[in-house]
């Protein structure tokens, strides 16, 4: 169930929550505050993000909150600005509550590209090191075109999270900076990548050799930067 932008909800959301609450369901409430929208810049959006997260638990009986600060120009969660919002909001909530918080992934580049996997790796490091309890993804190529998502992006998300857990936050900040600096200069020419049908043998559900090679290349780069991938 999603709140509305910004600091809004509607009757339908409350009706659905009432049903789930009485069924004893796990209730996830999401909200993706928009950077550059009504509330303005990075700090403003982070303040709103904290308020929105609290709303999920205080008024909507959430079991956990799914965040996703999104950039109004690029429609992604992996930009420098939106990651700062998510990182600060999560760290503030983590330091002062035991609330269960999550974040979701919208990358600019699409499947089977080095840029897509690098965007995901950067955000996975961010969410893990800022104390989030769940990471959810990935809507590659901004999640707006049919079939531009595959399991390989989730493999990167998971493997990077595992390698990041326990690292010093200072080290993580430095590594994210290097990764973001590399891909943010390519926003205008970000590759859309390939459809699931072109990334996998659909019948056997095995990724193509090409995608495995791209994945291997990004893994190598992350290892060179100091990430201990298993």
């Amino acid at each position: 169930m999603s709140q509305l932008n910004e600091l809004k909800l509607d009757n339908m959301s409350m009706n659905m929550i009432a049903g789930w609450m009485h069924n004893g369901n796990v209730i996830m409430v999401e909200q993706m505050p928009i950077l550059g929208g009504y509330i303005g810049g990075v700090e403003e959006t982070a303040i709103c993000d904290v308020a929105t997260t609290l709303t999920s638990f205080v008024l909507m009986n959430a079991s956990f909150h799914l965040d996703g600060p999104i950039h109004i120009r690029w429609g992604t969660t992996t930009t420098r600005e939106t990651m700062k919002i998510a990182g600060h909001a999560a760290a503030a909530l983590d330091a002062h509550t035991d609330l269960l918080i999550a974040n979701q992934y919208y990358s600019l580049a699409g499947p089977c590209t080095e840029m897509c996997l690098t965007e995901i790796a950067a955000q996975s490091m961010l969410d893990t090191a800022s104390g989030r309890e769940l990471v959810s993804g990935c809507a590659a190529a901004k999640g707006v075109t049919d079939d531009f998502t595959t399991g390989m992006e989730a493999r990167m998300l998971g493997e990077v999270a595992m390698a990041t857990a326990g690292m010093s936050v200072d080290k993580v900040n430095d590594m994210i900076e290097l990764l973001v600096k590399d891909y943010e200069r390519r926003y205008q020419t970000a590759p859309q990548g390939k459809r699931f049908q072109d990334c996998y043998d659909v019948r056997s559900v095995r990724p193509t050799h090409e995608y495995l090679e791209v994945y291997h290349g990004v893994r190598e780069r992350l290892s060179e930067l100091g990430l201990r991938l298993r």
Partner: protein, 202 residues
Amino acid sequence: MEVADRPLTVYDAYMRSTEGPKLAESHWDAKVVPEGVACMKEKYDIRFGSEFIPVDRDLKERLFLAGMELLVTTGIYNTDTRRVIKVTESEIMEGIKKAPRKLQLGEYRDAVFMEPRKGNASQKPVIQGGPTGSTVSEDIFIPMIQSYAQEAAVDTVVNGVMATIGGVPSTANTPFEIKATLAEIRGMREACNRAGRPYMAI
């Protein structure tokens, strides 16, 4: 800070949204929220440096307090009743206390647990794989979801939106939306079964 009589529920939220201050949605969007946020930014001196994750304890505390006070001073707007739901600080604290601290996602050997990690703990977060609401063609829905469920790093799966059902677009607020949603759920479960993880949370 006054003492709350009990934590709020979604029923309290609804009742307050029938009684709270009434105002136009455009006024909420363009004036109330932006001005409220700007006021909190100023009051708590919220300024970020170059880092993505703050290490300054004081900044983390000020940001938390700014967010909480924003919720108290502005509230939440119900777009149907066009009224504002107000909450107090003590009600927020009760809501935080009442929130679950441990969730089981999935069942049997496919179950995983979601618990507070506290900072960058060595315990990894739960990994939820899936298209995250992206649209997926009907004919490849199951293999695509299987591509997530079969990954060793993935703990739970999140669905995509089935673009059509029986070739008809699954347009919101039509019967086909419901039909497609039910097909998504069946497809998700089938994909988990094919991956050998039948009780994975979806």
